[in-house]
Structures are given as C-alpha cells and as structure tokens.
Amino acid sequence: MSIENYSLSHLRELEAEAIHIIREVAAEFENPVMLYSIGKDSSVMVRLAEKAFYPGKVPFPLMHIDSKWKFREMIDFRDNYAKEKGWDLIVHYNKEGFESGVGPFTHGSKVHTDIMKTQALLAGLNKHGFDAAFGGARRDEEKSRAKERIFSFRDQFHQWDPKNQRPELWANYNTRVMKGESIRVFPISNWTELDVWQYIRLENIPIVPLYYAKERPVVEYNGALILVDDERMPKELAAKAKMEMVRFRTLGCYPLTGAVRSEADTIEKIVEEMMTTTESERTTRVIDFDQEASMEQKKREGYF
C-alpha cells in the first residue's frame, strides 16, 4: 500500500465544504432551487452540485432570472449547456416589465435592476414556493457579504436583517423555517476570485466566452466600456462603436456591465492579469457606483 496522505489543498477543502452544504440543503428542505446566473461563480456552484449527488442527478431545479438584457452569448451558452447536461432549468422573467419596455437605457440602472432583477427574482421564488435558494455569492466580493451567513435567513418578504442573523457555528446549519420564510444558501461563501478561476482551470468547467479577450464592438457609456450587443442600444450610441480587444470580469445586463481592455484569452492569462491588476472586480459592475452601500441595500430588499 502506498503512503496515505491526509491533508487537503485549500481548494479541495473548500470543495468538500460546499458539497456538504449542498447535500444538507437537499436533505433538509422540501423545495430547494439553485439560482443560476450563467456567470463563472454559478458555473462552479453547479459543478459542485453535480459532484455532491454523483452518480445521481442533481435533485433540485436550477433557475435563471432573465432580465431580458443579458448578453446574447450568455443565453446561448445557457441553453446549450443546460441541454447537454440535462438540467432541470427554469427560466423566469418579469413579463409585465418586459412588455412595458423596461430597460437600462430608458429607465436607468436603478429602476431596471429593481424591476427586472429584484422583482423578477422574488416573483420567481414565490411562484414555485421555494424554501431554499442557492446563490453563488462569495464573501470576498463585497463588504456587506463578508458578514453574511452561509445559511442566510430571509423573512416572508425575502428580506435580510443584518443585525438579526442566526448564529452559525461549526458546520452545524440551522435549516428551520416557517411557511413563507426561506433561506438563501451560499455554498462558495469562503471562495475567493482566485479560487474560482483556479477551480475552473483544474476542473475544465466551461464558461461563457465573454470572459476571454476578443475583438468586440464597444462604446464608452457612463464611464464604462459597453458592448454593442443588440439593436436596443440607442442608435447614436451604437454609432460610436469601436472594435477593441476586451473581456468581461463579471457578466450581467450588457448595458450595465463594463468590459476591460485586455489581451487575456486563456484562464492562465486571466489569472495573471487579475493578480497584477489595479482594479478590483466590482468596478466593472455599473450598479455598484450608485450608492456606497448599494449592495447591502439590495440585499436587505431581497436581492442577493
């Protein structure tokens, strides 16, 4: 017998922790769902769910809240990948908002995000009566997340009360909720951005090509580089488009997500860029500029 090694690398330890969390939810909740945003963090989370129940199938559905302003490449990726993997995927969007033409160019980022993301998410959760929803948020992403529990209790209005969180000790998670209440669960809370990239690399997890640098048509808008993704971009703006080597560090609604000029077209180059970069990930997300504590505000309102 070979010499046995009883130590795990930090990534394998984080992986084991996440699998434990995911199984705990499947065992203790009646109707859980995994929120799938198509981004890199979600992709890692879904892989962890597949690992948790291997060789069985993931015993809960995935749900994508479609704001109807996502990059087209995201939607293509979602549909192909879900089909290939045989996922039980729910796509939910705010029909009323969509039909009355709500969008970032016309209504501004705040109104758009509230109606097409936050309201849509809450309606989607209510419609299916989910009592637990996995999210791919990480604590190192944003200040208010650093203090949030892995099992984050939400009242019947999906609101988070930062001052009244349940104590969370060891890996002993309190999953009790009353009817109408729910828990948001963040299995990759303890992962950093580097961990996520490293894991994607080691596990060969497919990600939306927008993460890799490529020549793309972009315009300067609200101080960010915005991709001309469809004809809904105002014509006078789209007319200013220039082809540039860019990539995206986060993915969301295309008018609200800024690209960065970059040559990084492999994961290794992305990591290299990230380690030597001078801007943090969140600066490319336009919404965060609105208000200093905007993410905390959003969380209190029920958005992640």
């Binding site: 060789p55 200040k143 208010s144």
Partner: protein, 633 residues
C-alpha cells in the same frame, strides 16, 4: 515583503497555488487594541488589496474615519452601513488573504463586552486564535475572557500579540511581564500551543518583517508564524465517525451513503457498523465524481457503498465496530446561550448534532460560569452570552464523543421550537457515564411532580396510543346482551391496536364497591366510584368499556358529568324485558320469587335513555358503530 509571485511565471504560480492549504483563524481583542489595524495590514501587505479599494478607502476615511489624515486600515474591514455609522463592528466578518505558502480565512470578531456570542461563532471554525493585548494596558479582564472562550471552543493554537510596543519604547521587560501574567492565567486552561509576539501593527513591527526596534525578540514575525504553524494534525484521524447525510439511490442497484467524514479514516474493505442498528457490512466502494478512492479522511465529502443491503438513513452513523462513540440520550455539556430572549428551562428544544435532529430537554443547570472571573454560581436559567454546564436529555439516541476529542461529533446547536432561532450552542463533556448523571428528573419537572402533574402529557399519551381517552358506557336491562357487546368490543379494539380497560358490575362489586349493597343510595355511590375510575383512566388516554344496568337517568347524568361530556358515549341495549328474561332467566326468577330485590324492570324502574349515541339489540348487536364513534373522537 519579498515578492515571490512576480518571479514565477503564471503556470508555476498556479501550480504552487493549487497545493496551498488553508488556515482558519480568529482575531480577538478589546476595542482599540489594534485588531482592525493588524488585519488591514495583513491584507494590505499580502497584496490582496486592489488599487481601487484603496481609492475607496481614502474616500471613506474622509467621511467617517476616526484617524484624522492617516489611512485607517480598520475601515477596510467594516462591512455594514448601520454599523459603520455607529462606529462599531457588531458581528462576525470573514476576510480572505493568501501568501505564497498558505490561504487564510480570518474570522474577525469584535471585542465588545456583550459579544461573547460572536466570538464563540468565529472560534467554532478556527484552527488558531490571535489575541491582541495593548502593551500599555497589559493582560486585562477581556484578554482572560477571550482566552477562556478560545479554550472552551477547543482551539489548540494561540498567538498572544502584544501590540502598540511603539508606545512603550519597544521595551523587552514590558513585553516579558505581560507574557508572565498571561502564562499564569493559562495554567488554568487547556491550550497546548501558545506563542508570544511583541508587535506594532501601526508601524508594521513584527507583522511581516522582523522589527529592527526589537532586536531582543528572536521569534518569528506574525505572518511567518501563521504561514508555517502545523495544524493539520489537529484533526482526529483515529476515530471513524461517518454521519450519514444523504442517501443516494439514482437507480435500483446503486445505494450510496453520502457524508462528510467527521473524523477517522474510512477505507475500502473496512468492516463498518451502522448505528443505531448495529448491523455490520464492508465498504464496497468510496465513490466520488472524480473517481473511486481507496480511502477517505476528514473533511472530505464522499459517498460510500456497502457489500450488504442494510437499511440506513440520514442521521445514522457508520463507525468501526471496535471504536464506537457514545450512544446515549443523556449527557452533560457546556452551553452558550445565544438568544436575546432568556432561556425558558421548560422548553422542548430542537437539537441538531451531526446530521441528527431531535428534541432536547435541559434536565439541570449545574452552574453558570462567569467568563471574567471563572466563578461558578447557581442559576435557574441563562441569559444572552451566559455560559454554563448543563445536563441534557434528548428524545432520540445520539452518537457523540466528548468535544475535546471530537469537535464534529461533540458539538450541537439548540433551536427554539417557536422562533426557530439558534438559541444556544453546546459542547459535550464526556466525563460521567449517563447512569451516574443525577437529576434524570429536572428541577422544573420536580416542581410539576410536586404539584401532582405528570411529566407525560395526555396529548403525548394519546399520540403514542393513537387514541383518545374515553368511556363507552353500556346501559340496559339485565340479560339484554351488554356483556356480550362489551367483550366483542374489547376484542375488536384490541385487534385494532387500542388500549382498553373493561369494567363490569361483578368485577367492581367484588372489590372496589365491596361494602355497598343494592339500596338506591349505595347504587349511586357504586356508580360514582366507577365513573371516577373511568375519569382517571381516560386522563391517561385509556379507553374504558363499562357495562352496568344503570337504570336511572339522573345517575347516568351524574356519571356523564364526572367523566366529562365529550369523553362519554352511551350505548343503549334496547332488548325488551321478555327477551332479556329468556336470555338470563336466573336472576329474574329469583326476583319474581321475591328472593332478590331492586332488579330493574321487575321491582324497580328502568328509565329508557332519550338520546343514546348508539342503540343496539341483542339480536342485531354489531360493535362497528361503536368503533366508529371511538375512532372519530
């Protein structure tokens, strides 16, 4: 700091990063000892702060910072707006940084007096604790409290960081005397590995680099210590505890038991015992998405299949047959009360321990411990942040070890059954065997018993027996078939799984009513006694079947009142006198000959009930309608 990252190409960097292990640490100190400054520095110096975060930092410190013109590292760390406005940190926040040797997760907990809860939370997952002391103040009450909590939570490595050495001119004797004070206090606690570092977080002395101002110090700077300290052997690799978390049955011929290995090593081919069934089998495969494994160790999350088909569900535990945990419902623990609401010791708490969820009762509070003085005192209940030793009884059997031997199986949380809040957390002490634990009857229960109240409620009894305590009272003439119906009913109820008692005139008169005769006064007394017995038995959830002539309305009414209206059903045997006489001729003959008195229907009246619940005849007697009534209650 020497930058090794740059010197590597990206592939080398990633290959190195992939192998790093993880250290989870906790920082504690009282307000203004420099905790935030130290953490900020560790994050800053390990190059985890991106430039724009620094830009945001400068903007922030102008608005709400306390440190005047200087960059305030502490601001990097505060998360929530409300807290920031109050200028305090009120909860546990997690921070991440890495060096080229290790990844770190810091649980940042505030040092305020009232926040034992937060510290205990942060400590529960930490391998190591940094305790800050202000060199100008030395070891203070809070230092002791934090150290006590750290030892309570079983952290094995402590770094005493004596900060603000710049304010005491970097003097060695100041540092030494603080260390001596601390050591004196430590002798009372159980912390195996303690390090002492003189430091100035503000100036960076002994944080990343050894300080030029304290050449007398010949230890490591704090970051180097954190990078090199050996913690993986703190895990328990000896006692296999595999608490089944999830049963995987994707197809008929695959049955896998998923769990996070809590402790010990599980190997392919190992003989395992299942708790609580004590059945044994061998490990067939250890399955993971990434392929089969020959063995699994903590904290891996894997799936095990067994050679034999054994019924196993979530909450069961797989162990080696020769190394078993305690399998008990009764144990002692140190409890930390975490809820704003004070403890009601009579609550039936929900307890979660490994993958088991059941009810728990606090039998006794042995003492409360004052975290500042270590003094013990007697209390009836706990308030927020209070800690003490308790005796617990659970409804289901749990599989556990002492917390000091096994953090995973020795810990539990208590959940309030009404608010569902996590109201307390506990660490099991395994010194006294369950049989020797006193007070199986709790202090609260003792009060109940003294007041004549049972510890088993009617509701619990009825739930267990799956029936409502009630009385079926069969009235009718002598010979009308009451006894036949009663015995048929008794048999039928027995077959249905009910618990019954049957009372008839002969049995009761042979003992309970021995001294009574058949005068109307004595008859009334006789039936009053019977009714009282019915009531007592019904109170315990038992179904009583009574068969008594009970000819008078008033007496039946009184009986009904004693037993309780909603528990009483009257069955009337409507068999006429002639048929009854044919059925049971002896007594009627004696009565007609005048040798027997007071026989209803002969020389005393039988008053036919107006609204019986069931009316039966000797010829058509079927007990099903009575069974229906009983089961519908």
């Amino acid at each position: 700091m020497e930058d090794k990252t740059k010197a590597l190409n990206i592939e080398e960097f990633l290959a190195q990063d992939e192998k790093k292990d993880l250290l989870r640490l906790l920082t504690a100190g009282s307000v203004d000892d420099g905790k935030s400054t130290l953490i900020g520095r560790l994050l800053f110096d390990s190059k985890r702060l991106y430039e724009d975060q620094l830009v945001a930092l400068e903007r922030d410190s102008k608005r709400v910072g306390h440190a005047g013109e200087k960059i305030d590292y502490a601001l990097l760390l505060d998360g929530l707006k409300a807290e920031r406005e109050q200028g305090i940190t009120i909860d546990v926040a997690y921070r991440y940084f890495s060096t080229n040797r290790r990844k770190f997760i810091i649980a940042d907990t505030p040092g305020h007096e009232q926040y034992t809860r937060n510290m205990v939370t942060g400590a529960s997952t930490a391998n190591l604790a940094i305790i800050l002391v202000d060199a100008t103040k030395g070891v203070i009450t809070q230092t002791k409290r934090h150290t006590f909590l750290i030892s309570l939570l079983g952290i094995k490595h402590v770094v005493l960081a004596v900060n603000k050495m710049d304010l005491v001119d970097y003097k060695q004797d100041v540092f030494n005397s603080i260390c001596e004070d601390y050591k004196a206090f430590l002798t009372r606690l159980d912390i195996p590995d303690v390090h002492f570092i003189p430091m100035s977080a503000l100036n960076g002395d002994n944080v990343v680099n050894l300080s030029q101002n304290m050449t007398w110090y010949n230890g490591q700077p704090i970051l180097e210590l954190l990078e090199t300290i050996h913690v993986s052997s703190d895990r328990n690799f000896t006692d296999l505890r595999y608490p089944v978390q999830y049963v995987l049955r994707p197809e008929h011929n695959f049955r896998g038991f998923s769990a996070k290995v809590a402790s010990g090593i599980v190997r392919k081919g190992d003989e395992l015992m299942v708790l609580p069934s004590r059945k044994t089998s061998r490990v067939k495969e250890i399955v993971t998405y990434d392929g089969e494994q020959d063995y699994a160790f903590p904290p891996e999350s894997v799936t095990v299949t067994l050679e034999d088909e054994i019924d196993i569900s979530r909450g069961d535990m797989l162990v080696h047959p020769h190394n078993q945990p305690r399998v008990e419902r009764h144990f002692e623990a140190m409890l930390v009360w975490m809820d704003e609401n004070e403890m009601n010791p009579n609550t039936n708490f929900i307890i979660k321990q490994t993958t088991n969820l059941t009810k728990a009762r606090i039998d006794k509070i042995r003492y409360k411990i004052d975290v500042n003085s270590m003094h013990r005192s007697e209390v009836d209940y706990f308030k927020l942040n209070e800690i003490g030793r308790v005796v617990v009884t659970t409804s289901k059997t749990l599989f556990f070890d002492a917390y000091e031997k096994n953090r995973e199986t020795g810990s539990f949380i208590l959940i309030d059954p009404v608010t569902h809040n996590t109201c307390a957390v506990g660490m099991i002490i395994d010194r006294v065997s369950a049989e020797d634990l006193p007070n199986r009857i709790s202090d609260a229960d003792r009060k109940k018993v003294a007041e004549g109240e049972s510890l088993v409620s009617l509701k619990e009894r009825e739930a267990k027996m799956q029936q409502k305590g009630q009385t079926i009272w069969i009235t009718g003439l002598h010979g009308s078939g009451k006894t036949d119906v009663a015995y048929m009913l008794e048999k039928r109820l027995f077959d249905l799984g009910h618990v019954t008692v049957l009372l008839d005139g002969n049995k009761v008169r042979a003992g309970l009513s021995k001294e009574l005769d058949y005068s109307s006064a004595d008859r009334a007394e006789h039936l009053r006694r019977v009714a009282e017995v019915c009531r007592l038995l019904n109170d315990q959830g038992i179904i009583v079947i009574c068969t008594f002539i009970s000819p008078l309305k008033d007496i039946r009414k009184q009986v009904k009142k004693i037993i309780g209206e909603d528990r009483f059903s009257l069955v009337y045997m409507s068999t006429d006198l002639e048929t009854s006489k044919i059925h049971a001729p002896e007594l009627y003959k004696l009565a007609e000959e005048g040798k027997l008195q007071h026989l209803a229907g002969v020389d005393s009246p039988y008053e036919i009930p107006k609204n019986p619940d069931v009316t039966l005849d000797i010829k058509t007697a079927s007990v099903e309608s009575i069974v229906e009534i009983i089961q519908s209650k």
